[in-house]
């Protein structure tokens, strides 16, 4: 008989430091699954992953298996992957196309939209058996914004609009890199296992401080990358931003505008090599706005808690335990931009994933963080960097700071504390 421990989060999360146990304590992890991943909003997938009626794709929300499907009415559905009879995981295939899900245990059959079709030997179920009430359970709340599917497993709670807040603009910026205003995540996902706590990923993904150090090997191997070193002391005026709600960004726009050249975010590929893309962008957005998009590029940002808009890649994480997490990556393909997409595929392979030139170091650092945190002294992780120079940027209305500052970590933890401590029943 284990005694339920109540963890007082206000004592563990401070403005300039967080307690090490937040990354290692299974009790914390259990609270996070409940309060952040199950009750809160998180990213689940994209409508382009199920383009046709009958398409399905397995995913996970927190620790719970779900299926994204497209029903015969061409609507996206988000279903729990559990037979309503005795709990069998009804869909074992990762993805595919089907008219029905048939439970292999007793033969209960459901349409691809989740509605019950029938059970063998139905007479035995009694005369009150109501098939219409026995469909696969729907995830209580699902919202789709420009193809990005978000969900909450709680029927009640903060609205999707309140969750997304100003960060809607970040999704807009990613989608508006396409002349059609639409992105396509159909190139498949690389899946990368980290023996580390899930929070290290969003904290690392908008950390501008580690790049010059942890990724030094790529700078030494590729000159083009070394010119992208993040160094505010050498004129890099990129900034870190707090978008509210735990959403954070490394914003390179100011640096890219120093030269005003397009595609610096894309290995500096000359515009002349993508003439159709440039023409289609100018046609879609007008010359000035198209130029701005092509100079500034897609965002480098985290949407709390698990989506990483990684410039021309999309990444998300699935937590496994306090010590393990899986990160997914796919290229951000742009509808109407085949010239970009052909390069994006190869760029994703170079930058993202377990075999790439960047992410293996991030995984190694996250794992070494986890190992280091087994030492319980000092008790705290230091997140003070930039506290004395962060400022309210009047142009954007966002709390901002220099590119190497830990404002992104602090923003993440601010939202974390809000969700973990304001939860009904949580210790005050």
């Amino acid at each position: 008989m284990g005694m339920q421990r109540t963890i007082v989060y206000d004592a563990l999360v401070h403005r300039d430091r967080v307690h090490g146990s937040l990354y290692t304590d299974p009790g914390v992890f259990s609270d996070e699954m409940d309060r952040i991943f199950h009750k809160g909003w998180s990213f689940v997938g994209h409508t382009s992953e199920v383009p046709n009626i009958g398409d399905f794709k397995r995913r996970q929300i927190g620790l719970q298996p779900v299926i994204i499907t497209r029903n015969p009415d061409n609507e996206v559905r988000l279903l729990f992957n559990r037979c309503t009879h005795r709990g069998n995981m009804i869909c074992a295939k990762e993805s595919g196309n089907t008219a029905t899900f048939v439970c292999p245990y007793h033969g209960w059959t459901f349409g691809v939209g989740g509605e019950m079709r029938g059970v063998p030997l139905q007479n035995g179920m009694g005369k009150d058996f109501d098939k219409s009430a026995m469909g696969l359970a729907n995830v209580p709340r699902m919202r789709i914004y420009r193809g990005f599917i978000f969900a909450s497993l709680a029927a009640e709670g903060p609205s999707f609009d309140a969750y997304l807040g100003k960060a809607r603009k970040l999704l807009d910026r990613a989608c508006d890199m396409s002349p059609d205003g639409e992105v396509d995540l159909s190139a498949g996902w690389l899946k990368h296992r980290f023996h580390a706590n899930w929070k290290m990923l969003p904290e690392n993904n908008t950390d501008g401080y580690h790049v010059n150090v942890a990724h030094a090997s790529l700078m030494r191997a590729v000159n083009a990358f070394s010119s992208q070193a993040f160094d505010e002391d050498k004129g890099d005026n990129s900034v870190t931003r707090d978008w509210g709600g735990g959403h954070t960004e490394l914003d390179f726009a100011a640096r890219y505008h120093q030269t005003g050249r397009p595609f610096q975010w894309f290995g500096g590929v000359p515009a002349a090599k993508m003439p159709d893309y440039v023409a289609r962008m100018e046609q879609a957005y007008g010359k000035d706005l198209a130029q701005q998009h092509m100079i500034e590029g897609p965002p480098h940002a985290i949407l709390f808690p698990n989506l990483f808009l990684a410039e021309l890649n999309i990444s998300f994480l699935i937590p496994i335990s306090a010590n393990e997490v899986v990160q997914y990556y796919t290229p951000l393909l742009l509808k109407g931009a085949p010239e970009v997409n052909a390069r994006a595929l190869r760029q994703t392979e170079g930058a993202m994933g377990p075999g790439s030139f960047l992410l293996p170091e991030d995984a190694c650092m996250a794992e070494r963080n986890q190992l280091g945190l087994a030492a319980q002294s000092p008790e705290w992780l230091d997140l003070r960097r930039g506290l004395e120079r962060e400022y309210m940027d009047e142009k954007t209305g966002l709390l901002s700071s220099a590119v190497s500052d830990e404002i992104t970590n602090r923003s993440f933890w601010k939202e974390y504390l809000q969700l973990m401590s304001s939860f009904p029943g949580a210790a005050a």
Binding site: E94, S186, A187, G188, W189, L190, K191, H192, R193, H195, A214, A216, S217, L218, R220, A221, V222, V326, Y329, T330, P331, A342, L345, R346, T348, E349, G350, G353, P354, G355, S356, F357, P360, E361, A363, C364, M365, E367, R368, L371
Partner: protein, 162 residues
């Protein structure tokens, strides 16, 4: 068409050499095995179309060069120090492919110690498909396509030479 025994032995010896250079992280010698039109490929699926889908690794000759320079930089932390490794090749099949090339396939099992962080013993397995070419009397590698059994599952760092 049956191949002469000595030709089969020569190709097997090449495959074993390539495997040993990879196991021992002998980067320069491994890089020297490649032709200029090289492809070092770890797809997520055997029939994956690289024009439409993303692979774990899809290195042309230039990118192999970058990979090796990065490994040799001393700062490739995910391979510093290099993972101790040993692999076993088996079920080798070889067929001629045109005038001066061969296709070969071999199952492999690879034990890799993630000495840089977790010290987990990672167990990798699958089948490797090779395309080899006779150049100046010797053999060179044109394509190495590694079909991991778990390529579409979550996998650990793949920054060593697989």
């Amino acid at each position: 068409m049956s191949m002469p025994e000595n030709e089969i032995r020569e190709i097997e010896a090449f495959l074993f050499l390539e495997a040993r250079l990879a196991d021992e992280s002998r980067y320069d010698e491994w890089e020297a095995l490649w032709t200029e039109d090289a492809l070092y490929w770890v797809p997520r699926r055997a029939d994956l179309d690289p024009a439409k889908e993303v692979s774990h690794i899809y290195d042309n000759r230039q990118r192999i060069g970058t990979r090796i320079r990065q490994l040799k930089s001393g700062f490739r932390y995910s391979q510093t120090p290099a993972s101790p490794m040993r692999r076993v090749l088996s079920n080798i099949e070889i067929a001629p492919a045109g005038a001066d090339e061969y296709e070969a396939g071999a199952n492999f099992m690879l034990m890799e110690l993630a000495i840089q962080s977790t010290r987990n013993m990672n167990f990798w397995g699958g089948r490797t498909l090779y395309r080899l070419r006779r150049v100046d009397g010797g053999l060179r590698m044109v394509v190495k396509k590694i079909l991991l059994i778990d390529a579409d599952e979550p996998i650990a760092n793949l920054s060593f030479l697989i």
